[in-house]
Amino acid sequence: MIDNQALDGNAIAGTLAEVFGGDMTTAIGTCGHCGTRGPVAEVVVYRRAPGVVVRCRVCDGLLMVITQVRDVFCVDALGLAELQAPA
């Protein structure tokens, strides 16, 4: 069940570009919980929490947490098994 407040990976394209140095919405991520592979644009994104919480669209597993203090980003991507940069 998807929460109506939830956004998707398009909403954090700017933040991800800042962290990774290029557009990541077409990058292919693999969920470390259920193995689903798909474009980063399709992940579930919550921005209400302090920081950004990224979850798998299929199993709801936690993929990434991104926090920012002033100009420093902290990215915890423990739930991502793989992230394949766009070709």
Partner: protein, 233 residues
């Protein structure tokens, strides 16, 4: 900022002259960053409403009453003011032409904004790819870009008004469900490329309907705006 254009009671288009702007792709967005005097920053993403061929950058902002950014953009920004825009951002929900395959655009509410950029781009480039728009709004007064979308040369635009229809309305008057998608979209074997944009619940419903009609998930590009407009409070 050059100009503010009232679209509906809740939405305004804001036209910017952006020196040094690189060409964007239709469907991309920008991040708007506001910085208060004390250094506090608030940032939101807004879809670009203008086509790459348009001279200026246009954003269309839905005013969220308790939002941090949209009330400022919609009510306080004056012609001549400068704000910080970063972009263009995002490569996923961006126009692509696949020769021979039609493009189906589905918008709900302010989800029309990036699709409007695609329609303008399609027209500006005289593209031969068939494009059809299905746009859902609550009433005719809530239709953003109404004059443009109802003009004789608007192209293949289908409107559905979910709450109120004017007398003599000949368009659709219901929610975008499986039946309506089946009626308006090209059949799955024709492999249309589909772009769906709008509030999260709307996008889920439309994408689910498309998949249930046999459309490949990989040919359905989605962008979710959250509960209502372009900003979560």
């Amino acid at each position: 900022m050059l100009e503010l254009i009232e679209q509906t009671a809740r939405t305004k288009s804001i036209v910017f002259d952006v020196p040094g702007w690189g060409r964007h792709r239709a469907g991309q967005h920008v991040d708007v960053r506001l910085t208060a005097e004390d250094g506090y920053q608030a940032q939101r993403s807004y879809s670009i409403a203008s086509a790459p061929e348009d001279r200026h950058i246009e954003l269309t902002v839905e005013r969220i009453d308790d939002g941090e950014v949209s009330p400022y953009l919609a009510d306080e920004l004056l012609a001549g003011d400068e704000i910080e825009l970063r972009g263009p951002i995002g490569g996923y929900f961006a126009w692509e032409e696949a020769p021979g395959m039609p493009v189906f655009l589905v918008g709900g509410g302010s989800g029309i904004v990036p699709l409007r950029a695609m329609l303008r781009h399609h027209r500006a480039t005289d593209s031969a790819v068939p494009v059809r728009l299905l746009y859902s709004a609550r009433s005719l007064d809530d239709v953003i870009y109404r004059d443009e979308l109802t003009a004789a040369d608007a192209g293949d635009v289908r409107l559905t008004l979910t709450r109120r229809q004017p007398a003599g309305w000949t368009g659709y008057g219901r929610r975008v469900d499986r039946e309506l998608v089946a009626e308006v979209c090209w059949p799955a074997p024709e492999r249309p490329l589909v772009y769906v944009c709008g509030p999260t619940g709307f996008v889920e419903a439309v994408a689910g309907a498309l998949v249930s009609l046999g459309h490949e998930a990989a040919r359905i590009r989605t962008e979710r705006f959250g509960p209502t407009g372009g900003e979560t409070p």
